[in-house]
């Protein structure tokens, strides 16, 4: 950067910092973070955006800026690490690279890197990095095969790193998140042998001892997670269930008023809200949407594509656009392709944490 530009940007930064001090708002924070980003100071940009988020939690613009700056910073560090690996490969560089790749969600690349590290050194830490990346992949996709492979890799790391608590902790997290309580208790026992007297672990062990009547095996638990697409700690709380029923129906009604829309559906578990068709047709439509959502979620995981985000069917019947969310799913049946606004509304509807109360409402 030229000397003149540096002076100008310096004065701009000063002004923006003053603006933040005088009138802190999401806009002023975003402007300051943006200026840092323009100057290539990604760490500063992320720091300013995070500071703004502390004052204005949940602000979309600041979250996006913080996330983006961190991603660019990690990208830069990744490039440096790759260069270092080419010149002088060593475990510390591999380890940092694996950690960055795992944290940034590039799990496939993280595993490849760990595999390369393991082939070169035979280090147990490499196997642990592989296991961690595969475990994260399982948490994201809920594929049974990923879970099995993650456990195999962690077991291999355990053998290579005896009396190391890290593989045991990852194994424990996996067992607990899939609801394999007996195995979790066994792993906790192993962890307590390594870390005797740990109060948190002891408390967990006591809690798990009361749950051992649930004799779910790992294989059963993994199958259940793949089938439901949900980990044990992602289960919805019962008080959430009826919270958003009131706000869903008006949205569906509004969607149905759009030209060309034949039906708007929201499904969650055994419950469905349908606008448009009536009687038996409404029931059939809800059942079809529910099945399409279930099949598509499983197919996306099995195909290795991760969590399903959108399903579209086009044919002589028109367009069926389905948006599967974490809890429920929304769908729109129309004679023409839904507009970008309608699609956005569907995604937002599916992302609602609440849902209709129990019972079929067609």
């Amino acid at each position: 950067m030229s000397f003149v530009r540096r002076i100008f940007s310096g004065s701009r930064l000063r002004d923006l910092r003053q603006a933040v001090a005088e009138a802190p708002s999401p806009r002023t924070y975003a402007s300051l973070a943006g200026e840092h980003a323009r100057l290539g100071e990604m760490a500063d940009a992320a720091r300013v955006a995070s500071e703004g988020l502390e004052l204005f939690p949940g602000n979309g613009e600041l979250s996006r800026l913080a996330e983006r700056s961190r991603a660019i910073e990690a990208e830069g560090r990744t490039r440096e690490l790759y260069r270092e690996l080419r010149d002088a490969p060593r475990p510390a560089v591999w380890r940092e690279l694996c950690e960055i790749l795992t944290a940034s969600g590039r799990l496939e690349r993280a595993e490849e890197c760990a595999q390369e590290w393991f082939n070169a050194t035979g280090d147990g830490n490499a196997q642990l990095a592989r296991g961690t990346a595969r475990c994260e992949r399982f948490f994201a996709d809920k594929r049974r095969d990923d879970g099995r492979l993650a456990l195999d890799l962690i077991a291999a790391a355990e053998k290579l790193l005896p009396r190391d608590q890290r593989p045991l902790r990852i194994k424990l997290a996996l067992h607990m998140r899939i609801g394999a309580w007996n195995d979790a208790r066994r792993t906790l026992g192993q962890l307590l042998e390594v870390e005797p007297g740990d109060a948190v672990l002891e408390a967990k062990f006591r809690t798990l001892s009361t749950m051992t009547d649930q004799t779910t095996t790992i294989e059963q638990a993994l199958r259940e997670v793949e089938k439901n697409g949900r980990l044990v700690d992602e289960e919805s709380t019962p008080q959430d269930v009826s919270a958003a029923a009131g706000e869903i129906r008006p949205i569906l009604k509004q969607m149905c008023n759009e030209p060309g829309v034949r039906a708007a559906v929201y499904v969650r578990g055994a419950t469905a809200l349908v606008q448009g068709p009536r009687g038996a047709t409404a029931e059939r439509t809800a059942r079809a949407v529910r099945e399409v959502v279930q099949r598509s979620r499983t197919a996306a995981r099995r195909l290795g594509l991760g969590q399903a985000a959108e399903v579209t069917l086009e044919g002589d019947f028109g367009h069926l656009h389905v948006s599967p969310g974490e809890m429920g799913a929304s769908a729109l049946w129309s004679t023409r392709p839904p507009t970008a606004r309608l699609r956005q509304e569907l995604t937002e509807l599916a992302a609602l944490s609440g849902g209709p109360s129990k019972g079929e409402e067609a």
Binding site: A140, S296, A299, L303, G306, A309, E314, G315, D316
Partner: protein, 162 residues
């Protein structure tokens, strides 16, 4: 046939393009990692992936058809599954399915035109082959059994005419 999928596979963001029979058997596979050495380990792995992908994609379409069947809807002409780590776009081709797996950065809508073009190319190829077959083949009653030469292969009119 593989050349039909070439333009599709060359689109940035497309990981794999396949023509799959309705029973899930891959007919043609075009992988972006395809190289000249077909015997490499990568090629073997890619073919294994293609086989499972084809089976899963066709199976999923079958399940969708069964799900929407009670609404008296016919099989969807185009199906799109957008997910966290990529998209699957499937469309009906003559006697088969055209399946494309794309990166998450790519919008499935960008594949609409190239896929329709690929289907049109397949239809044209089939028409040309049928026309050529119709010209070369003798007009025999289809109810009659085919004639076989001593080598065991089906005889054509070019073989029998002296």
């Amino acid at each position: 046939m593989k050349r039909l999928l070439e333009p599709l596979a060359q689109i940035p963001g497309v990981r794999m393009a396949l023509v799959v029979a309705h029973d899930g058997v891959p007919v043609v596979v075009k992988n972006v990692t395809d190289s000249g050495s077909d015997h490499s380990l990568e090629a073997t792995l890619a073919s294994e992936t293609a086989e499972s992908l084809s089976a899963l994609a066709a199976g999923w379409l079958g399940e969708i058809e069964r799900s929407i069947g009670p609404l008296s809807w016919n099989s969807p002409q185009r199906v799109v599954l957008r997910a966290a780590r990529g998209s699957l776009v499937m469309t009906h081709a003559p006697g088969a399915l055209l399946v494309v797996i794309a990166d998450q950065r790519m919008s499935p809508e960008e594949l609409r035109l190239p896929m329709e073009a690929a289907v049109a190319r397949m239809q044209r190829l089939l028409r040309t082959a049928q026309d050529r077959g119709g010209r070369e083949r003798p007009q025999v009653d289809p109810a009659l059994p085919a004639l076989f030469d001593p080598k065991g292969s089906a005889s054509s009119n070019a073989d029998t005419v002296s």
